[in-house]
Amino acid sequence: MNRNTDHSGAASYGASLMFDVNTAAGAVASAGPSASSPLALRADGVQMRYGGTMALKGVSLEAKAGNIHALIGENGAGKSTFLGVIAGRVVPSAGNVSIFGQPHVFGQPRQARRLGITAIYQELTIVPRLSAVANVFLGQPISRSGMLDEKSMRRDFDTLCERLDVRIRPDVLAGTLSVADQQMLEIMRGIQSEARLLLFDEPTTSLAPPEREALFKIMRQLKDHGTTMMFVSHNLEEVLDISDTVTVFRDGSLSASGDRSDWDKPSLIRAMVGHDVVENRRVERPPVPAGMPFLLQADKVTVPGAIENVSITLKRGEILGIGGLVGSGRTSLLRALAGLEPRSTGTLVINGEACPWPNDPRRALGAGIALVPEDRKAQGLVLGMRAMDNVVMADMKQVSRMGFLSNTMIREKSRKIAREFGYPETRLETIVRHLSGGNQQKVLLGKVRFCSPSILLVDEPTRGIDIGAKDEIMNTLRALADEGVGIIVVSSDLEEVIAISDRIVVMSEGQAVAELDQSRSTVAVGDILHAAFRVH
C-alpha cells in the first residue's frame, strides 16, 4: 500500500492517483482519466477548514464507475466530511470535484441530485410526522399533472420493501418507527431515486445482521446495474465483505488506498491508526460470587406494545448483556427501567427493598438507576453547552452552593471524570456540538458516571465510534463494574455484547427467551442468533 503523507493540494494529486493502483510503486500510469473504465468521481486537492482545524488537508482521489468504494478511518479522520463534500452538503475551502466528468457545484444538494448523486446520511433525515411512504418519496414524489400519485408511490414502496425484505406499513408515521426502520426508510429513499452515485454514511450501524445482509444484497444488485456506491463504515468485516476499493483516511489526509484484494483486517487497522491494535476481545473478569445478593430484581416488566413480562436480575459488579435483534424490545426494557416509559408496569426490588415502579426519570435516578441513551445527540447531550456543563448536568448539587454554580468546582470535578474516561482535559470547555462521536460518547458516559448510579443502563454505547474509542469505553465500563456498579448493556454489535458481558439475556419479540452464562465458557454470536430466531 502506498502511504500518502503529502498535504498540499496540488502536489498530492500525483500521489493520489495510486487510488486505482495496486501496491506496485510507479504504476501511476494505469490510473487517471484515460483508464479503461470511466470515472464516477474525481476529487482534486479538497481542503476543508473548520475554524482553526483542517478537517481535510487536500484530499485527491478517483472512483471508478460501477464500483463499491469504502471510506474508512477513525473518528475525525475526515471521511464523513469528504462524503459531505461529494454529497454537495459541505462547501470545501479549496479544491475541485467532478462527477462523471462534470464539475460539481458545492453546497447545493439539489444540484448534486441533478448530477445523479444521492446521499444517505448517518443522522436520520426522516420527517417524523409524515408517513413511511411520504418519507421515502420526499422531495421526489410521483405525481400526475401536479397531483400526488399515491397509488404508484405505494406500489413502488411495496416493491422496495419486498426487495429489501423489510415489513414497514406504508401509512405508519415515520416518527413512531424504530431507529433501524427509520434507517431503512432512508436507504429506500436513496435506492428509489435511481442515483448514479449513491453515498452511504454508516448505513448499517443500527441494523441487525439479517437487515445488513438484505442491504448488502441490494447494494450488489445496484452495482450489477452500474450504480457507483461510496460508503463510510466503522465495521471492517462489512468493508471487506462488500467493497471493491478501500480508501483509508487518517488525520484529514489519505492514508492509503487500494483494491479490496490488497487488504485484510490487520492491514486496514494499521493504515487507520498507524500502528497495530489488538482486536477487541473478551477480557476475562473474576466471576460474580454465587452467593452475592441481588442488586436489582425487575419482575414482569411490561411495556404495552413492546415487551411483555420480562424479568431480569442483576448483581453488584455484574455486567449483563441484552442480546437480540433490532425491535426485540431491548431498548424498551432499558427505557422502562430508566423511567422513560410512563405506561410501563412491573415490580422493582433494589438491594432487597421493594421500590415503587419508576414512571419518570427523576424517580429512577433517585433509586440509583441511570441510563446512557441510544441517541446521544437527541436524548443525551445538550449540544450547545460545553462538555463540562454536560458532565455535571445530572447532579448540579455537587458543584453548587446555595443554588449557585461554582465554575471552579465544575472544572475540578469534570476534570476528574475526564481522566477516568480518557477524555482530553483540554476539550472540557469545547461546545459538545464540535466534538467527535467518540468524545461525545465519553462526555455522555461521564455525565452519567458523575451522578454515581449503582445501576447503569447503557444503550448502544459504541454506535458510530472508532475502534480506539470503543476499546476505551469498554474498559471504562469494566472498571465501573469492578467498583461494584451493576451494568446492563444493549448493543446491536453482538460480538461486543459477548466481549463485555458476564451473562447474556436474549430477547426476541418482546420476551426474554434465553439466558446464557459466560462464567464457564464464552458464548458465540451464533448462540445468541439461534436463541433470537428461536431456532432449536
Partner: protein, 328 residues
C-alpha cells in the same frame, strides 16, 4: 455556532481573548452595533449623553425592559410568551384600582399575586395541556386582556393616593426608582440565569428537553416557572407605568409583547432556545431605547419610527444569523 459560548462560558480561554479577532468581532457583533449607534447619535443629537437624557431614556424603557428580562427566561427555555401585554395592562389596572383600598404596598402585592396566577395558568396550559406556547399565550393573552377591561369597566382607574406616582416618578439617591427597579431586575436575573443551578437547567431545557429530562431536571415545573417569572415581570412593569402616568388603563399593553420579544432577539438570543444571555437583552434594550430617543429628538413622526424599528429588528436578526454562519 459558537454563540452559546457567550451564553454559558463565564471564563474565556486566552486564545479567544484576542481583542480584534474575527470570532470576537462576530460574537459581540451586537455590542459593536450599539457603539456605532451611539457614535451616530452623538452627531445627530448631541445631548444624547447628558445625564438628564440618559435618565430619561432609562426610566422610559424601564417597564418594557423588566418585561424583556422575563421574556429572556422564557425564550432561552425554549418557549414564547405573547400574553405579557395583557398581564401588563392587568397589573396597571389592578394597581391603580386597589391603591386607595389596600394601600400602595397592598396593591403591589395584589398585582404580584394576580400576575403570578396568570403565569401559572400559562405554565399549566403549556406543560399540562401541551398546547404550543405561541397559541397558548395568544389565547390566554386575549383572556387576560379581556379581564383587564371587565375589571376596570373599560374606564381609566385614577387613584386619589397622593403617593401613587412615587414608583414611576420618585427617586432614590438621585436616580429614578424605576431605573433602580430595572437595574435590580437585570442584575438578579443575570445572576440566576448564568450562575445558578436553576438558570443552567433552563438552558438545558431549551437546548435539549429530552437530555434535561433524563438528567432528572423537573422539566415541566421549570418550564412553567419561566412563564410565572415573565408574568410577574409584566405585572410589575404595568405597575411602574401606571404609577408614572398616574392612571391605570386596560389598553396600556399595546405592542409590548412584540417590543419585548424584539429586544430579546436584537440582543442575539435565539428564538430556538437554549442559548442567549441577559446582557444581550440589556444591549437590545439600550439599542431600541436610544433609537427612540434620537428619533423623538429629531421630531420624526412615530409612524415612520415604527417602520424604521421593524426594519432594524429584521436586519439585526439577519446579521446575527450571518455572523453565526461565518463563525463555524
Amino acid at each position: 455556532m459558537n454563540a452559546q459560548n457567550s451564553a454559558i462560558n463565564v471564563s474565556t480561554t486566552p486564545k479567544e481573548m484576542r481583542f480584534f479577532s474575527r470570532d470576537v468581532m462576530l460574537q459581540y457583533g451586537v455590542l459593536w452595533a450599539f457603539l456605532l449607534l451611539l457614535i451616530v447619535s452623538a452627531f445627530l443629537y448631541p445631548r444624547v449623553f447628558e445625564l438628564q437624557n440618559i435618565q430619561n431614556i432609562l426610566s422610559q424603557s424601564a417597564p418594557v425592559g423588566i418585561v424583556a428580562v422575563g421574556m429572556t427566561f422564557v425564550i432561552i427555555g425554549g418557549g414564547f410568551d405573547l400574553s405579557v401585554a395583557a398581564i401588563f395592562a392587568l397589573g396597571a389596572v389592578v394597581f391603580a384600582n386597589r391603591a386607595d383600598v389596600f394601600g400602595l404596598w397592598g396593591a403591589a402585592a395584589a398585582v404580584v399575586t394576580v400576575s403570578a396566577i396568570c403565569g401559572i395558568i400559562n405554565g399549566l396550559i403549556v406543560t399540562r395541556l401541551k398546547v404550543n406556547a405561541f397559541v397558548a399565550t395568544l389565547g390566554s393573552g386575549s383572556v387576560f386582556g379581556g379581564l383587564a377591561y371587565i375589571y376596570s369597566n373599560s374606564a381609566p382607574q385614577v387613584p386619589n393616593d397622593f403617593n401613587f406616582g412615587d414608583l414611576g416618578t420618585g427617586s432614590w439617591f438621585g436616580w429614578p426608582i424605576s431605573i433602580w427597579m430595572l437595574f435590580i431586575t437585570f442584575a438578579v436575573g443575570a445572576a440566576i440565569l448564568s450562575r445558578s443551578v436553576y438558570g443552567r437547567s433552563i438552558y438545558a431545557l431549551g437546548g435539549n428537553e429530552e437530555a434535561a429530562r433524563l438528567s432528572g431536571i423537573p422539566v415541566d415545573l421549570y418550564r412553567a416557572s419561566t412563564y410565572v417569572l415573565t408574568a410577574i415581570c409584566s405585572g410589575v412593569g404595568g405597575m411602574i407605568l401606571s404609577s408614572r402616568l398616574g392612571v391605570g388603563q386596560a389598553d396600556m399593553g399595546g405592542s409590548l409583547a412584540l417590543d419585548a420579544i424584539a429586544i430579546v432577539v436584537i440582543g442575539g438570543t435565539s428564538l430556538l432556545g437554549g442559548e442567549g444571555a441577559l446582557w444581550r437583552t440589556a444591549v437590545g434594550l439600550l439599542i431600541i431605547a436610544t433609537l427612540t430617543n434620537v428619533f423623538d429628538s429629531l421630531a420624526i413622526n412615530t409612524n415612520y419610527q415604527l417602520v424604521a424599528k421593524g426594519l432594524i429588528v429584521i436586519a439585526a436578526v439577519a446579521l446575527d444569523i450571518y455572523a453565526r454562519k461565518m463563525r463555524t
